[in-house]
Symmetry: C2
Subunit: 248 residues, 2 copies
DNA sequence: CGGGACGTTGATAAGTATCAACGCCCGTGG
DNA sequence: CCACGGGCGTTGATACTTATCAACGTCCCG
């Protein structure tokens, strides 16, 4: 499907693109060099599975570039995505043996991994890592709860608008363009993946995307390209009282 | 509505019913006595609001007894419950000024509170508290994600069965009766609160409760009393592949 | 006795899922 | 080089689940 990229063998932490957002962001240079010793990079192609739910997982790590999803599948095949992992997001849980969810790369993906045992040891020794991990986990908990509102109470149209504005917001933060009125980005998800995220069918996703396009809220450029002329309008469509961090 | 109970003025941490489950569970006796100094109890009547979303919140704390809910309300009044707080659960986020959600007592409630500033200071000094808080937050994140599957992919009947089995499980854990085949408990929620938790209307909740009763999966004793003769049957109705921790 | 909170049940409407057909794009192999 | 096929997306017709609107019942308290 895609060509195999040559893995980047090793990047200095100090030159790392997620240096000041990831789990290591609070570390001093000596702590960083300890991490440097136990870290290694892994590359995944779009579509590849990083780990399967319940498989033993002997590492934790950060997304350096690309996008991955966390999802859970019921016995009969219904699946629900429970997390979207963008650069700087953390994967894996210290103190647990197996993975709790399927982790799948939806684009080519680079991860910075730490073997779990040494990472756990480091965590008990360097509070800066544990502190940052707590902070990130609390943020993820907030995001999960925000998503519960989307899943439980929003209409299909609002769900789509919510997903688009969350992705736009997260890219804006990563690229430091948070105050822009407009946004354009490539959707890192197929219609089916969007459906799994939103608790809808792919047909409903497709129809609502068409509807938002017809109404001029978004412009579609090819299958994946999204242009949002007016973020505040999209946020309005999402039915949020909060502006989602835009235009504060 | 209910009589005001005389507050328990002070309980020794060592005699506290949630001593070994709450955020303090890892603490040594000297750490416990530091917590003892900054703690105070607050009582709430059923129906009372503990804090409103976005209100300043100068404390964090643990539920000692009773039940509370975390919920979020959209501009137009739609509300979604995003958490159910049972004894030993933690409320509030260190490092944030305002509350993120409405916290409401759904039964008479006793909370063990810590003023936020001293608690945050203590957290940086005693890793046992931060460690336990990280662990609890990761558990909550898992619970939130499990709930996303319920909200996004389950039918009304499965949602009701899921809620009942989660409540049964949590009570069983609190009371150390985890391996019982049957369970009976009082629902700490009205039909409307259940609906807000499940992303349904109260009418649908009522109908599905009646259906589960008609089919013999549950027995209703009055409005709130629930008897589950066979937990495995309820879990089957919930559509879970995991048994939710029962009958392992 | 009246009123209000809570719960149940019924009739109907609305939103979304399901089943099905079709279009586009791109890579592969004859 | 072109035809084929598969992955992905769109659109339509219809079915089904759940929401909405409404009536009524029960219990408890003033």
């Amino acid at each position: 499907m895609h060509k195999l990229k040559t893995p980047e063998l090793h990047v200095e932490c100090s030159a790392c693109p997620i240096r000041h957002r990831a789990v290591c962001s609070r570390c001093e240079s000596d702590e960083l060099s300890q991490l440097e010793e136990i870290k290694y990079y892994r590359n995944f192609q779009a579509g590849q599975t990083v780990v399967w739910s319940d498989d033993p997982m002997d590492f934790v790590g950060s997304v350096v570039s690309g996008v991955a999803t966390l999802s859970q599948t019921m016995e009969d095949g219904r699946t629900q995505m429970v997390g979207l992992l963008l650069p700087s997001d953390f994967v894996g849980r210290p103190g647990r043996r197996g993975a709790a969810y399927d982790v799948t790369a939806t684009s080519d993906l680079v991860m910075c991994c730490f073997r779990k045992k040494p990472f756990e040891k480091l965590m008990t020794e360097t509070p800066h890592i544990a502190q940052r991990l707590l902070e990130m986990t609390l943020d993820e908990l907030d995001a999960a709860r925000e998503w519960m509102v989307v899943l439980g109470r929003k209409t299909a149209r609002e769900k789509i608008a919510s997903l688009l504005s969350i992705i736009a917001r997260r890219y804006a933060v990563l690229e430091d363009r948070q105050s822009a009125r407009s946004a354009s980005f490539d959707l890192p998800l197929t219609r089916e993946a969007m459906a799994d995220y939103l608790g809808l069918t792919l047909e409903t996703v497709s129809r609502q995307m068409s509807a938002l396009k017809r109404d001029g809220t978004i412009i579609l450029e090819g299958k994946r390209g999204i242009v949002v002329r007016d973020m505040s309008r999209l946020i309005e469509e999402a039915g949020d009282d909060s502006d989602g961090g835009f235009l504060v």
